[in-house]
Symmetry: D2
Subunit: 381 residues, 4 copies
């Protein structure tokens, strides 16, 4: 694979590289790591890349890589730049015939997301969006239990995504991560909403198999002077009549990164939290609470959950492994496509461009509702 972005000091670039490397299925062969050519070169050196495959720009990379024969050139590109630099490289890569793994949220706005989605469909290239949480085995387990009817028709969904790192005006201190995330020109319409709210919304839809149909929101800028929202609460109705709440905030001083979903159907409830990602809790009336555990040997798990574990129960797996599941599935699916073979569809499970469009629509609808005094707003795209 090649990489766009992820130069020295960028957090998420290194995460993508580790995730891609873990299973030995993907080799980083080239990159345009920074808009600064010197910086890009330095990063390439640090990563032991051949210097002729470290490019000054992604345009150059796509151009040059496309000239290489299949098998030698990069098969796909991983794009790990800030939001405002998602659409252009992604569209160009697709148009040049490369698969794309793209960091979330998908684009700067909904229009871009829709166009990118169309490009994916038109080019037939493989595309994945890194909604990491869907990569966790026990999140897939939760989804599988819902699909099997373990808890019946879903009635209630609570999802929360707390963070605390923006509880002060960190963007004024030169912090690079904070800087672009709080800048509408680089981040888009949503602040916390785009950065973590979309994860929460995606998680709720992924796990339950439902779709948000309507929402009423309260979007806040808590830290004075900030230009984008840093806190949001949303009341939600889903397409089967279920209701719930979604809260995402980056100003919860002292809170570490965390995401949690708890939901209930007619026959029981399920809970998963990032704090303890190798467990999923199942509650059934009249029975003891059950804690299902990740592990390659755990026979009571759904097959799709087992296939996304790497170790036996009691060997904690985490964020990088979940991230790696997206990459591994993408690689397996891409290989099958290139080889014209078929694969177990459990291994084709990764977030799509369609998920990305829904994420961008979520941002827009939440802001629309909040601006209209928290009015219930249909979630139509």
């Amino acid at each position: 694979m090649g990489m766009v972005g992820g130069g020295k000091g960028a957090f998420i670039g290194a995460v993508h590289r580790m995730a891609a490397a873990l299973d030995g299925e993907i080799e980083l062969v080239c990159g345009a790591f920074s808009s600064n050519a010197e910086r890009s070169k330095q990063t390439g050196d640090d990563l032991y890349l051949a210097s002729d495959r470290v490019y000054d720009s992604y345009d150059e990379m796509f151009e040059e890589e496309a000239k290489l024969p299949l098998g030698e050139r990069m098969d796909f590109v991983s794009i790990v730049t800030p939001n405002f630099l998602h659409f252009d490289p992604a569209k160009k890569a697709l148009d040049k015939g490369f698969g794309v793994v793209l960091d979330k949220p998908m684009t700067l706005d909904l229009a871009e997301a829709k166009e990118l989605n169309r490009t994916v469909e038109e080019t037939g290239q493989l595309f994945a969006l890194t909604h990491t949480y869907t990569g966790y085995p026990m999140v897939k387990q939760a989804r599988a239990m819902v699909a099997e009817g373990t808890i019946g028709n879903i009635r209630k969904i609570y999802v929360e995504y707390p963070q605390g790192w923006l509880s002060t005006k960190l963007e004024d201190t030169g912090n690079k991560q904070a800087d672009w995330r709080t800048d509408p020109a680089k981040s888009g319409l949503g602040g916390a909403l785009g950065d973590i709210g979309t994860h929460a919304a995606n998680l709720s839809e992924f796990v339950t198999g439902l779709e948000i149909s309507e929402l009423a929101a309260n979007v806040n800028i808590v830290v004075p002077g900030r230009k984008l929202d840093d806190d949001v609460d949303v009341l939600i109705r889903y397409n089967n009549g279920a209701s719930g709440t979604l809260s995402a905030s980056q100003v919860l001083a002292g809170s570490e990164n965390g995401v949690k979903i708890v939901f209930y159907g007619e026959k029981g409830g399920i809970e998963w939290k990032h704090r303890d990602p190798n467990s999923v809790i199942l509650r059934l009336p009249g029975k003891p609470e059950q804690e299902l555990r990740a592990g390659v040997e755990i026979e009571y798990l759904a097959p799709i959950a087992i296939k996304h574990c790497r170790t036996p129960s009691g060997h904690p797996e985490g964020f990088l492994e979940a991230f790696a599941n997206i990459y591994r599935n993408f690689a397996m699916t891409l290989r099958a496509k290139l080889d014209n073979t078929s694969i177990d569809t459990d291994y084709s499970d990764f977030p799509s461009a369609g998920d990305g469009v829904r994420g961008m629509a979520f941002i827009e609808k939440v802001i629309e509702s909040s601006k209209n005094g928290g009015k219930w707003t249909p979630f139509v795209i």
Copy 2:
């Protein structure tokens, strides 16, 4: 003390009696335990009461007890009947010169609550409402930390109260508890809202010292055919500008009774949950998470928290002890009043008639907002 309600089979009556008995400060001397005279008598016998002080009705009890000399007659009455039977006995007891401990929610509607509050003020009698959660030492600790400024000005409050016992139409099976709670004539305007939503609202105001100023709600009847709400989500704004959510539901199949509050200020966050009531979690940026623990010997606790513990750290206290704290404080305050002495105000800490009025107003405002499509509705009484 005397008791109104709490005949055989009533859950909360026995709780009140154990809570009152625990500290050896209160003696149950009389009761009108049921509208059924035979049943009342039987309960009195089971409780080893003198038969001449087991009454057929509360009217009779107030009449007869008032004739007895001070010191011999009951000093106050504990009223543990369903909501529709709160106002009348409470008002009559106050008017007859008795103190009152009343189960929540205060009355059937806001008008009654206001009138009862006026009666409390006019008669000068002592009155307590059993919002039990405020009786926990670590809830008082949380409140004390807020008051000391430990986490700075509060920005965000999440409070949730899940239950699962009404996830089916239990009221159709002859279940007495379910029956009156789902009957508007006996329960009032609110179902889950009154039963547990008021606890959650009271807890959020008690702990933070803030007042709800505005709310936008989604009130649901999830179980088909039910006559009162069994599920509610509320977006809230507080009088200092903080925002948050409140969720209360009785249809979360498989969930046990639980209440939890997490809130954050400019300088940190605090969490307390009923599942682990002897701990309170303190989160301060840049420091390890701290778990404060209840215990009579724990010097880092606020004095008010220590005064509401009975045992050293590592000896779990629970629901009955929290309940007993309300009773003990009521008894100590009443004794001081009768003896015309003063007491440490930490021991006068119990929920008031004013809290009860706010609870009833909360029910009305939430329903009003939900009926108006979730419109933001000022919380004015």
Copy 3:
């Protein structure tokens, strides 16, 4: 009931009184609260006792109370003095025809314990030893599951009892609790061993239904200058061939009071810990871990566990309720004895004089083994 000991400032006396009061089945009617007559009187006043039933000595109390008619005199006595003052009042009370509730460990040494046990048998009086942990509903649940064969023949038992309060030489600071517990003349052969080690040993035998048959021990005095052990580790073999460890320590600086037992049979394992006393964990191979929860309405619990709960699931009960279960059962059994009626044997479940003898033997055998270089020592009485 009457009480011996438990004057002002004594921790455990107040605990006994609250435990006895909770269920409304027991009334404190008299006491010899202190060897200091003035102090005894003051305590009696604080407890609202009639002054003529507050005695200068337990000898006087037994004498005078025995003169009162049945029904008026105390039915039994609760003895809450330090260990060296257990045997004499207990034996005298039994001989005078009173039932006895006695704090643990039973006596100052094994010989006394055996004699007291004989007295219980000879007088036919009712006797209970307050090994509190056996009063917890979920401890009884664990025992019931073992008895039902849920985990098969037991193979392994780990029990631990950590405390930290004696991690410095507290006995030199005038601390009354520390003073007598570290004084061989008042505490007996064992320090931590008697105070908490006997709880741990009793718990392991109670829950598993097994008996310790052999042990090898390492008994330590960790704090320099202390006269009695403050830390002990024991390797244990049980009478069915199971093995395990028992650790008890009072020098674990920073540790709160806690006791925990984890044990495994051929078919699964069970865990209970005081830190979360309303849960018991069940582990069965090939199944999710199950968390059973206390609650009067929890139908999957054993009947005996339900009968020792007071509230529904999600209303935490704790140490005082467990303690109260011993008192309530003692009272119910005593009443049945006095009334010559029979009762559900689940309500006769409380620790016996036989348990007390085993506890004293445990102390002696552990010390014997440690003195013999940790030699395996048969546990024969």
Copy 4:
């Protein structure tokens, strides 16, 4: 790197490969994956290795690789075979001038371990033993806190390593992992003792900086007919006078893999458990319990802990990352050695051949003590 062992179906081989790949610092270039040449070749293909670098035997591999120029040939070899196949390939690799990463326990017996250790010293080659748990950032944090004196002189150490997978006679069912681990010819003197007991002993010494000086053990074969121990309890004295227990068992039916250490010094206690590896608990008398959390941005952590994190707090890292820390450190140290540069010694932190010798001695001493009726046995090598 090259690999010896780790053919298809071998659990630990894949773990080593993922751990080595994660950070992009190590490339697998060759292997002798199985004693079965066909199987070795197949594994090499699956791993995308050049076919001329997949060898039929490790002898051949060392021979051929040694002929290649530095930079092209493997720099070190990872040996992931069963215990009986540790010594020979490790010694040969060292003698041929290759660094060695070796799975634990080090060898089949103590004599081999000592000889291998001498070979490491004589050849001057780099050597690491994969005691994985020492790779966890929060284990290093615990060690750092001890070294800084946070809890004072250590008094008490409890370490436990429970597993349940051998609670039945799995070795009779054709299970490959169970087969060699329960076979003295392949596993050595110790069963559970070697497989997990050595991890526990190593962890206790690593974290506390102490050395075991004396032990008294109870070694059991619980499952009838098994040839090696599957359960062991040990009383331990350390070289500073501290005491403690170590329990390791593979017959705890229903228990997942888990390891936990809790230890106390004069001024406080520390707890780390594999179940929640990104936390370490600090207990100080008179202060709330503190939960320190892993994360690259957590400034209160010791520098060495931060250097072994890859993500911010709230992004769980796990077993593979801990394993990868050993590989990354080995690679960095090897590179510095090859480049003749120096590195931050925090990055040279990985288990040594000396640790391996202690592990083998631990096995022998525990068995010796148990055979001598649990006699206290000096831990001298």
